[in-house]
Every structure is written in C-alpha cells, then in structure tokens.
Symmetry: C2
C-alpha cells in the first residue's frame, strides 16, 4: 500500500488483525469470539485504556505501544495468579496515522503473542478526530478458588516484590532528557524498563497457594501497598534498605523512598506467610527472577517506610501521575 | 459534587462504576475480575468502540450513549446465540465533560443492567485531549457447540429477519432535521429506533439448533447478508415486497431497497432450513416479536433483491457510512 492510502476498517482487520486470531477468534469474521473454559478453571478478565499524549507519546514506535498495552494487561492477570490466554483490542485512531502505523502496531502484537502464548479474539477499529485511544481486554485462566486477591493480607505476612523498582520512573525521566550523567547503557536500560514492562506471567501463577494477597505495581510500590493494606484491613512496614534497586537506579543517586513512589514498575508485590519463604526463594531461583522480602504486614492501617536507624521516612506523594 | 469539580479516576470508579459491579467484579478493587463458566457452556466475547462526533453526537444524552454502546454489544452476543452475562468498559474522556456526564452515563448502564440481566466486571477510566472514546467488551454464554456462526448457511435455507428494517437509518435522518412531513409520533419512533436499539437477546439464544447462520444487522441488511453469503459460499435472493417495514418507515415513502441498505438496525438476520419454519413462527408468537421470511439461500454468490415482477432491483451502495 502506498503511504497515506487507507485499507479502511474491514481491510485493516483482514490485513493486520485477522492473522493474529487464534481458533477462538473464528478468523474475526463472526460477531463474537468463542472462549473455552477448561473444567475446574475460572476465567480472569481485565481491561485497560491508553491515549496518545497521556499514556504514550504520539511518536513512540507503534510496535512498542502495542506491546506495552498488551503487557500491562498481562501483568494484571499475573497479579491475580492467572495464566494469560486471549485478548481483544479496540482502536480509535486519527486518519492521518495511516495503515503503516497499524501494520507496525499489529507487528508488535504478533511478537508478544509468541512471547506470551496469547491469541487475539476480536475487537473493533474506528476513526477519531482526536489522539489515538486504545483499549485492550485480556483474558486468563486460574484454578477455581486459586485467584489471588488484594484483600487477604494478614498480620505476620512477609511483603515481597519481584525484580527491581523505580526503573520505569527513572526511564521516563531519561526519555525526557534527564539523568544525562549516566552512561549510555544505563540510560538505555532505564528507558527500556519504561517502554517495555516485563509482566511476571510465570511468577504470578506460581504463587497460587503461596501468596495471601498480590497486585502489580503500577501506581508506585508504596501507593499500591497502601491498596493492599486498605483492602485487607492491615498495616505494612517496609525497610527502605531492603528495596531492590537496579545498578542503573543506584547510579542515579535517587532516594529509595522516591523510587518506591514512582509508577509503571509492573513488578509483582505480594504478601505471604513466613512458612512460604523457602518455597518463594526456590521459585525465584528456578525462574531466574529476583524476588525480595522488603517488609512485613502488621495490625493497624497505612504503610510505613523505615530507615536503617528504625526511623520513619516521610513518604509524601505516593500516587503516580502520568505526564 | 459541584459541577466542574472532578472526583478523579479512583473517585469516579468508586462513586459511579463500583455500584454496577456484580460478584465477579470483586468490587472493582482487584487487578482483574473473575468469570465462572458453567459446565458444558462456552463463553462468547465481543468488543466495540465508539467515538463522540463519529458514532454519537457530543450533546447526545449520556445515558443513551451508554445504553446504545452496551446494546450493540449485546446484539453481537445474541447474533451468536449467546445469553449476555457480563461486560467491561473503558472510557477515555475529555476533562471538560465533568463528573455529571459520567454520573448520567453510569445511570444509563445501571438501567440496562437491570433490563438485560448483565453486570459490570471492570474496566478503566482515563483522560483524553480529544473527543470521548468508549470501548465495551461483552461476555455471554452459549452451550458448547451451539454457537451460531455466519458461515453455515446452506442452499435451500429460508432467510429471516426480526422486527422491522430501515427505522434507524430513517431515525438518523429525522435527528438531522429530515422527514419533516411525518407526524410527531412517527418522528419520535424513528429517532428512538436510531438512538436506542433493541438487542434481540431472547430471540438469539432461542435460535440455537434452529438457525444455520446468523448475524445482527449493523451495516445494512443487504450488506450484512452479503457477509453471510461470502462466509458460507452461497448466494441469497430477497423479495423486496417481503421486507418488514414499520408504519413510520412506510409513511416516509423511502424505497425498500434503500432501507435494506441502511444500517444500525440491530435486528437478527438468519438462515434456517425449511423444516424449522413452524418452530420459528411459534417462537415469534411466544416472544411477541415479528420474525419475517424475506427470501432464500441458493447456490452461487452475491445477494439479489427482486421486485414483484421477478426483476432484479439495482442495489448500489450496500455498505453503511457513519456520519
């Protein structure tokens, strides 16, 4: 297709999205798709929307936009202990984007479908006079009753987090021209952590039966831990020195308290009884994914961040604001 | 709340959307929702997006916008023979809309939840600098193997359509100031048919085991019948005189061929073997919903519209274009 020409809605679906459909998507020619639910399983469903200029930049690579949208939803499924299976996507796109943008967007989806073993079920493709608005619904499976909620943390639980925190927050600053003192590799690492989250799709389902409560860190570790505490009716105490930071994050010199308030980590934050500690450490080793004990659940309410001397660190703004 | 003030994303979800959540929505406080799938059933899933200024007018009543968005998705489920159960919704809204718009939007959802027995599972609420962009994913249930697809029409099948056709197409013209010669009641009837489709949620599932192929008429009866023919590898012949028109549509004097090319009917168009005729007529009577035989499936390809003298009527533009 010459650039600027348009295949139209049907043409775009046929050219770019139909090849992504699995058997349940019925080739995207029917009014709806079919989802099988194996006996003893429940389906887990989540949806997220993103808008150009709010959640991503209009000149971001379309394949990365697609992969991030898919991954933040897969991260939500993982946070419930569910294995990702299917997704639907709706796009409202300005006409000037053209078919090339969609083609690259669909190529990003194709790449991540392979990586995460998910398939497209259906969706919709419409025009808008405003910025691109994209919505994705992801569907996963979990053994009935195995789903991990936010509301079941108990006093005495250990608080854990996967990977490292604060990288995406710093990566956004890098993409805006900040942290120029860092080396090229560190800057690229942080930017990549912002642009392409790694949903913990293997860890999440493995924690079924081990973790009492879980979520994925999207608004910032401290703020999100606050959500677990509020939903569970408990308090949490976190040791600042225990927060897992990447070498690049350490090199920025940013305070751990600030990194723990940054968003977009998409790491799993969970609470598990002390007795699960060895199983969790073993799981971490077998997955090759660091999982770090950072504090404990207590009676009470709210989240406290404690320094080496046992003093409370001022938390301040814990909610994450998008640019 | 004073008009113009904003509850913010969390506040809006808590105030307006959380009360719509059923048990599977987990109060909208978790990362994802849970869907039970009864033994022997499959889930049927569909998604649609609409944009202000493209699919609805920015000053349309927000409750009607919500109900139409939900209903077009329920219509897609009905077209597969599925009973509607759940939905997720994502909204990208300009800040100037304010909480009052959302409150009225949610009130429309609440009203239709009661009418159709569906419940909210989750979603997302974000800001946009452009026109409102809304996306809804609907989930239904159908007995495994009972789903009705587009691709199984067979030569000899009778072609049926529910309700009357062309009303929504005429209703849009009325809303734009057309058909001024009609009486007030006829104008109101047509406008309502455009603004608030009636998804055939009782008829669709009742046709499982009777209909070979089905879809809902959204792009126009002739164009959509063309989709069934293409997917099934067959042709269709429709008698113009048999097309069911409302008294208001007849009063406009518009040609049946033109009404059969108009969109947004959301009636069910289906193909069933001759032997099912009595069962379908009985079903029509028991539901109090007219269902009309309008033609037949034949060997070949394409759709022909035939006049009283057996001559082909020029079909012309069969695809529907949004304003």
């Amino acid at each position: 297709m010459p650039s600027g020409a348009s295949l139209g809605e049907f043409g775009r679906i046929r050219a770019y999205f139909a090849p992504l459909a699995g058997p349940g998507g019925l080739g995207l020619i029917d009014d709806a798709a079919i989802v099988e639910c194996p006996p003893g399983q429940r389906l887990v469903v989540t949806a997220d929307a993103i808008v150009a200029g709010v959640h991503f930049l209009p000149d971001d690579p379309p394949d990365l936009v697609a992969r991030k949208l898919l991954r933040v939803n897969l991260s939500d499924l993982a946070a419930m202990g569910a294995r990702p299976r299917h997704y639907l996507i709706t796009t409202a796109l300005p006409r000037e984007l053209g078919d090339t943008w969609i083609e690259r967007f669909a190529a990003g989806l194709a790449e991540d479908q392979k990586e995460f073993g998910v398939e497209l079920l259906g969706g919709d493709s419409v025009a808008t006079t405003g910025p691109a608005a994209l919505s994705l619904t992801a569907i996963g499976e979990v053994a009935a009753g195995g789903e991990i909620r936010r509301s079941r943390a108990r006093p005495g639980d250990v608080v854990w987090v996967s990977g490292t925190i604060g990288d995406a927050f710093l990566g956004l600053a890098v993409l805006r021209g900040g942290h120029v003192q860092l080396g090229e590799a560190a800057r690229a690492y942080l930017a990549d952590r912002y642009r392409l989250p790694q949903p913990r799709v293997a860890l999440g389902p493995s924690l079924v039966g081990l973790a009492h409560a879980m979520l994925d860190v999207s608004d910032g570790l401290l703020g999100d831990l606050g959500h677990i505490c509020a939903a569970s009716g408990v308090a949490a105490r976190i040791a600042a020195a225990a927060l897992p930071l990447s070498p690049a994050a350490v090199a920025t010199g940013e305070a751990a308290a600030r990194l723990a308030a940054g968003g977009d980590d998409y790491e799993l934050l969970f609470c598990a009884p002390r007795g699960a500690t060895e199983s969790i450490n073993q799981l971490s080793r077998s997955l090759g994914l660091p999982v770090t004990a950072i504090g404990a659940i207590e009676e009470g309410e709210g989240v406290r961040l404690i320094d080496d001397g046992g003093r409370d660190i001022e938390i301040g703004e814990t909610g994450y604001r998008h640019f």
